[in-house]
């Protein structure tokens, strides 16, 4: 599915990197622990998180993640929005909680990817 269809499905706001909306993505992970994302994530394109600090975008950058979804109405500050734009990461924000967000995306075809998603 495209990042655009994720945006529509979650009724999400696009905060940065809107030129990435047509990117096709197949895999996702959901975590508030960036340590775990760095240690266990394998080629996932979407990061769903309730953590809202610049290290979320740094982690996404290191892992080549193309889309970060902030759940539970988290509002990244201007510095984070700018970081996302500079790194070509599409930053989305939804009011939905983590579980519902993951469920909707799974239902729409996104999978966990790597050896952890089977």
């Amino acid at each position: 599915m495209t990042v655009q269809s994720i945006k529509e499905l979650l009724n999400a706001r696009v905060l940065g990197g809107d030129d990435m909306l047509d990117r096709e993505v197949f895999t996702a992970c959901g975590s508030d622990m960036m340590s775990d994302v760095l240690a266990h994530v394998d080629d996932q394109a979407v990061l769903i998180t309730g953590l809202c600090n610049p290290q979320v975008l740094r982690t996404a950058e290191m892992m080549d993640i193309v889309c970060v979804i902030m759940v539970r109405n988290k509002q990244p500050d201007d510095a984070m929005i700018q970081m996302a734009a500079e790194r070509n990461i599409c930053l989305l924000a939804t009011s939905l909680p983590m579980f519902t967000t993951c469920g909707l995306l799974y239902d729409a075809g996104l999978r966990g990817g790597g050896q952890h998603g089977k």
Binding site: S35, A39, Q55, M62
Partner: protein
């Protein structure tokens, strides 16, 4: 270093958690411009970023030097922090001495050093209690 394509040096600020990862980000961009394969770049980026975060959390910052050669990427992360009391324990997945406030920032799961080892081809830790720690890592280029 002989046949070095690029030699880079960074200072990691001791207190500014917001800026942690800037050095790794810069190395990632430079490797990309040099045309290094993406899977190699990701290994370097993850290993170095974990090290950088460790330096901020545990060691009052420090200094990083990176040497890029046609054969490998060499990283040295040097701090004058408290040292690592038990390296074997620190290498166990899930073991962490990070304070709780670090966990609320998304780190301190006890995965840092094991993940650095996983993403590098060689890793060496020299540590002296009360004096500091130097971690050296190599990521080889493909044959």
């Amino acid at each position: 270093m002989e046949n070095s394509l690029m030699s880079l040096k960074y200072h990691v600020s001791p207190t500014d958690f917001t800026r942690a990862g800037e050095a790794s980000s810069d190395v990632k961009n430079k490797l990309k411009k040099l045309g290094v394969p993406p899977e190699i770049i990701r290994k370097v980026a993850i290993a170095m970023y974990e090290g950088e975060i460790n330096m901020v959390i545990h060691a009052n910052g420090g200094d990083i030097s990176v040497d890029i050669t046609p054969d490998a990427i060499f990283m040295e992360l040097k701090d004058v922090g408290p040292g690592i009391e038990d390296i074997d324990k620190a290498m166990q997945a899930g073991y962490s001495t990070a304070p709780d406030n670090v966990r609320s920032l998304g780190f301190g799961a006890g995965m840092g050093l094991p993940n650095m080892k996983k993403n590098s081809d060689t890793m060496d830790i020299q540590t002296v209690l009360g004096q500091g720690t130097t971690v050296t890592m190599t990521v080889n280029m493909p044959e």
